[in-house]
């Protein structure tokens, strides 16, 4: 360039690359998030209308605030280079453990379980945000040991690093989140490239553990889970035949699942709309949180449920896409962790409401009411956005990513 013409050149030149670099977010991922957020508000509006008679919009208003906060957090996180988080892996892990222990120590009970700490304006459910913290810490840990990935030592350490917080979370008791933690660990090992032998051994171990916890343990008097948890887990195996309608405690898992199935089934092709009665009149317990899919299925039918499932499919496929396009292993692992979290929660939660999965108390990402869950999910998606943005910009800059 001519030094004589510096006045015009800088004006034009930065324009084109700036547009590329400013490509802020994965559009499809964002679309899925917005769609699910709107879906959540629409569903909750009808489902929670009668929960607090004096304030029918109580839940919707709060969920809208949570979604907005989470969306802002997501936008903020997408501007951040996730790579720097690798440096703080010990801090992150410590924060995870501390928050979980704090809940155990200071927590506030709900439904017979201590899962959250109540602050003046919101209650903080550590296990939800803990999922993201665990993904970051474990990913960083695996990247550090990238050269010893095929060693048994690595596999065992990763599992133990996940198992410790998981046990504390299960002790709260929040079985669902504990299972999510373990799923995340397994997924990270799987994506990081742990040997198939280790994975097979792990699968066998899981089978033995399930058998012990549900069958062998109680038989010899060792109760790893509380009886109601065991019952919830096995309820879907022996459904409606023994459901006793009148006088059944609404916390009876079989009752819950049966009523949920009735709600969803009665939705039919296009939903019952204003005729819906199962959810608005309280036949389906927890229809604002764990059983929000029942509210959706009843009111909007196969059409509405299918649409939301399609949005989840989009969300998960985009997550996997971010996984493969990440500029480094850390990014791929974070994406894998978020994918594990989303897949586990969507399949287990939806499966639970339609009677093909045990009741484990996991939320439906973005749809279920709850600040911690919504914000944690959006933080995870914020990380995906960051990985996406970084991948786009790095490939734009270098065209290559260092791989193992």
């Amino acid at each position: 360039m001519s030094p004589l013409s510096p006045i015009t050149a800088p004006d034009e030149a930065p324009a084109a690359p700036a547009r590329t670099l400013r490509l802020p977010l994965d559009p499809l991922l964002t679309l899925a998030v917005i769609g699910l957020g709107v879906g959540s508000l629409i569903t909750l509006k009808a489902a929670t209308r009668n929960l607090i008679p004096s304030d029918p919009h109580y839940y919707v208003d709060r969920q809208a605030v949570y979604l907005a906060l989470g969306f802002v957090a997501m936008l903020g996180l997408s501007r951040l280079d996730y790579s720097i988080l690798r440096r703080y892996k010990n801090v992150i892990y410590a924060a995870l453990m501390l928050s979980i222990l704090a809940v155990l120590g200071l927590g506030h009970g709900a439904n017979g379980a201590v899962r959250s700490i109540n602050f003046p304006l919101f209650s903080f459910q550590a296990s939800e945000v803990g999922k993201i913290l665990l993904i970051l810490a474990l990913s960083a840990f695996i990247v550090d040991r990238a050269r010893q990935l095929r060693e048994r030592d690595t596999t065992v350490r990763v599992l133990i690093a996940a198992l410790v917080p998981a046990m504390f979370v299960i002790a709260q008791p929040d079985l669902g989140s504990g299972l999510v933690y373990m799923t995340i660990a397994c997924m990270l090992l799987f994506v990081a490239g742990t040997s198939w032998r280790h994975l097979a051994a792990l699968a066998a171990l899981v089978c033995v553990a399930i058998a012990f916890v549900l069958v062998a343990g109680p038989a010899v008097g060792v109760h790893v889970l509380k009886p109601y948890q065991t019952e919830r887990l096995t309820a879907f195996l022996h459904p409606s035949s023994t459901v006793q309608k009148e006088g059944t405690e609404s916390t009876d898992p079989r009752y819950q699942q049966e009523e949920s199935k009735i709600a969803i089934g009665s939705g039919g092709k296009t939903g019952r709309g204003a005729q819906a009665n199962q959810v608005p009149y309280g036949f389906v317990p927890e229809s604002d949180t764990d059983f929000v899919f029942a509210a959706l299925g009843e009111k909007y039918g196969f059409l509405g449920a299918g649409l939301v499932l399609a949005l989840y499919a989009l969300l998960i496929s985009r997550t996997l896409r971010v996984l493969v396009m990440a500029k480094d292993l850390f990014g791929s692992l974070i994406a894998a962790g978020v994918a594990a979290m989303l897949m586990f929660q969507v399949f287990v939660n939806v499966g639970m409401t339609i009677g093909i999965m045990p009741i484990t108390g996991v939320t439906l990402p973005l749809m279920s009411y709850g600040g911690s869950s919504v914000i944690a999910t959006l933080l995870g998606i914020g990380l995906l956005q960051s990985i996406y943005v970084q991948a786009r910009s790095s490939s734009a800059l270098k065209g290559r990513v260092l791989r193992y």
Partner: protein, 729 residues
């Protein structure tokens, strides 16, 4: 900075290692399979079985409360109301809104109710066994009756006491006490009604008082905050404006109870619906009750009502029943009964009960009919205490209670009012000739047993007409004896032919069939007795007085004068006299009418829906013989020496000729029962009147004057109570 931007690939795709590609593909595959499973399951639930789940969801969320249909009116023949409905504000309890404590009580009550029901079912089985052992005994002995009554009582719907309120329900008890203070009921009564109401119709409001009065209602309305769970609702109450008038005929209404649910008459009617329980209310319930509407209430999982857009289904009002009764005649007849019975009591006769029937002899329309003592059906419109109920059902079951319609359920010998039937039978069969003189002397002896005239009167040899006029017993004893010798049971056959000893087919829920003693009947009774004795290991059952006694002429002689084993009721006698009367008007071609009270069914709006038809049976009577019999009973009411001539003094016989026969039935252990049967042969408005007064004395003394009062009303004549002095049977 931007100047050094080198290349800008359109697609920022990065190379991926085969290892990662494989594993991500596996993850994607798992996700696809899971989504597939979920979609398939959703399709199955929502599209394939959607309707089934909709039904389940609806059953979950809705409770159906019946809206009572306004019950149809019952009118007299001119369209004047006999029974109507009024709308009042009932005080109701809304169980859900009450202070806590009721549910434990309800559960206890239902548990003891279930226990009592088990005991009741056992009693039903035992009763069936006992009845089968007894066979078709018509007149069981007192011991048997006692046992039967005990068993029957055990099969009645059990009276289960409501357990006391639990101590924890102090607030509830206080509320009931305060409420009771306002509506003048004890807290205990309110509690009982609420608990019983919840048991019959769960979820519905329980009516505890329908006549609280305006003052109490205003208090409750103004201070509703102090009475949680107390509501007011307009309810339709069955109203019987004339109280005791024709009460047994009209019947009464009550909630359909569990044992009635199985009856075919109430097929498809919900428990707790107000239905007819007796009389016309019961017989025509199908028309009167209408179709209840339905309030559909959406409820939440706790069973509490929630706002919904479910529209109520409006009830259809019941149809109107127009009867053949003449309200004026009915009222006058009941007053006449009252006057007659009072007169008898003043004369030293107990006159404990009575009944009357006024029939149109041409078509069987019941113009008036009643039984005394009576009851007020309005009492049944409100909750009734067991004590009140047993007061209505009779003196310990020994005697028929006030609820029994003696006109068609009484079982009486008729005394001499039966004689025209005997005469007709004997003449037609040729047992006697009309001019033959019979029955001289005070008594007739059959194997040294005397059969005497009342007061050992001496009539000499009388012809048929004279015998009917004077009511000579010796004449008719002789006829009975001759008929027995003649064979073929001519009297029995004629009685049945004319309508005695058979159910009349009246449109009321129950009527007495009647007993006419005959050889076959006696053989049956003897067979029953021996069977019963076998079952009781040789002990007597007293179905017959003496076991294994053969038929004797005495049975026939007693029957000929309406005594002995004959049992019938005023309605059957009215049918028989109607048959004689219409045959007499029609040259011997008679009609055995079916007496009926229902005339037509109208829409609630008043337009005719259906005219009620009742079959009748034709008989041919020999006109010459019939004329003689009618002449006999006409003279009995008009000629010098006639048994009821005195009663009809001053009556315009040319216009409304009276054909009347007195009767004085003798029942062991009772004062004579007064009977009078008459037919007034007015060309346009004929009427047959039957009157009987238990323990009322001679026929001319009590029953005949009552009949005259009834006839006076029918023809618009001045009413005068004229007792006769004839002391004949």
């Amino acid at each position: 900075m931007s100047a050094i931007e080198p290349v800008k690939p359109r697609d920022p795709r990065v190379p991926v290692s085969p290892q990662l590609a494989l594993r991500v593909a596996i993850i994607g595959g798992v996700a696809m399979v899971m989504f597939g499973v979920i979609f398939f399951r959703l399709w199955y639930l929502q599209v394939l079985s959607g309707e089934q789940y909709v039904a389940q969801a609806n059953a979950n969320g809705a409770r159906h409360l019946p809206i009572a249909a306004p019950r149809g009116q019952i009118l007299d023949r001119e369209g004047q109301p006999i029974v109507g409905s009024t709308v009042t504000n009932a005080v109701q309890i809304v169980p859900d809104a009450l202070p806590p404590g009721l549910s434990t009580q309800v559960q206890e009550y239902q548990a003891s109710l279930a226990k009592a029901e088990v005991a009741r079912r056992a009693a039903v089985t035992r009763l069936a066994g006992y009845e089968a052992a007894l066979g078709r005994v018509r007149r069981p002995t007192s011991a048997q009756r006692l046992e039967l009554r005990r068993l029957r009582r055990a099969t009645l719907p059990p009276l289960v006491a409501v357990p006391p309120l639990p101590r924890s329900a102090a607030r509830l008890e206080q509320l009931f006490r305060r409420l009771g203070h306002v509506i003048r009921l004890s807290a205990r009564t309110i509690d009982e009604r609420v608990v019983e109401g919840i048991t019959v119709t769960p979820y519905a409001h329980v009516t505890i008082k329908t006549d609280a009065g305006r003052g109490a209602l205003t208090v409750l309305g103004e201070r509703s905050a102090e009475f949680p769970g107390v509501a007011q609702e307009p309810v339709s109450i069955r109203e019987y404006p004339d109280g005791e008038m024709a009460a047994q005929l009209v019947g009464y209404v009550g909630q359909l109870n569990e044992s009635e649910l199985k009856l075919r008459a109430f097929h498809g009617v919900e428990q707790g619906t107000i239905v007819g329980q007796a009389g016309l209310e019961y017989y025509y319930d199908h028309y009167l009750r209408g179709v209840p509407g339905e309030q559909r209430i959406a409820v939440n999982a706790e069973g509490q009502p929630v706002p919904s857009k479910l529209l109520p289904i409006a009830p259809h009002a019941g149809h109107t029943l127009q009867t053949t009764l003449d309200l004026g005649l009915q009222k006058a007849s009941e007053n006449a009964m009252k006057e007659g019975m009072e007169h008898a009591r003043a004369g030293g006769k107990p006159a404990i009960a009575g009944a009357f029937v006024a029939l149109d002899p041409l078509n069987g329309e019941v113009l008036a009919m009643g039984s005394s003592p009576s009851f007020d059906p309005n009492k049944f419109a409100k909750p009734l205490t067991p004590a009140e109920y047993s007061a209505l059902t009779g003196r310990n079951g020994e005697e028929p209670g006030r609820l029994t319609d003696l006109a068609d359920e009484g079982a009486y010998p008729t005394g001499s009012t039966f004689k025209p039937i005997t005469a007709m039978a004997a003449l037609e069969a040729g047992v006697i000739t009309p001019s033959e003189g019979l029955g001289a002397g005070q008594c007739i002896f059959v194997s040294s047993e005397p059969f005497c005239n009342a007061g050992h009167a001496e009539y000499g040899n009388a012809t048929l007409v004279e015998a009917l006029k004077e009511s000579s017993d010796t004449y008719f004893f002789t006829v009975g004896k001759l008929a027995n010798e003649h064979g073929g049971e001519v009297i029995q056959r004629k009685a049945r032919e004319l309508g005695v000893g058979e159910p009349t087919g009246i449109d009321l829920p129950s009527e007495f069939a009647g007993v006419i003693p005959s050889r076959k009947w006696l053989a049956e009774q003897n067979a029953l007795e021996s069977k019963c004795e076998q079952a009781r290991h040789g002990r007597r059952c007293y179905i017959v007085g003496e076991p294994e006694q053969p038929w004797t002429v005495g049975y026939n002689m007693d029957l000929a004068v309406g005594q002995g084993e004959l049992l019938t009721d005023p309605l059957q006698m009215a049918v028989a006299y109607s048959t004689l009367a219409n045959a007499y008007r029609n040259g011997g071609n008679g009609t055995v009418v079916t007496p009926h009270i229902g005339k037509q069914i109208d829409e609630p709006t008043g337009s005719l829906l259906q005219t009620l038809k009742f079959p009748s049976r034709h008989v041919h009577l020999n006109y010459e013989d019939l004329s003689l019999v009618m002449e006999g009973i006409h003279q009995a009411a008009t000629a010098q020496g006639g048994t009821s001539t005195q009663v009809w003094t001053g009556w315009n016989q040319a216009e409304d000729p009276v054909y009347g026969k007195t009767g004085t039935a003798e029942r062991a252990g009772h004062v004579e029962q007064s009977w009078y049967m008459c037919y007034l042969g007015n060309a346009q408005r004929p009427i047959v009147i039957a009157v009987t007064v238990e323990e009322g004395g001679f026929g001319a003394e009590t029953a005949a004057p009552i009949a005259r009062l009834i006839a006076s009303q029918w023809y618009g004549k001045p009413k005068k109570f004229v007792p006769g002095s004839s002391a004949t049977r």
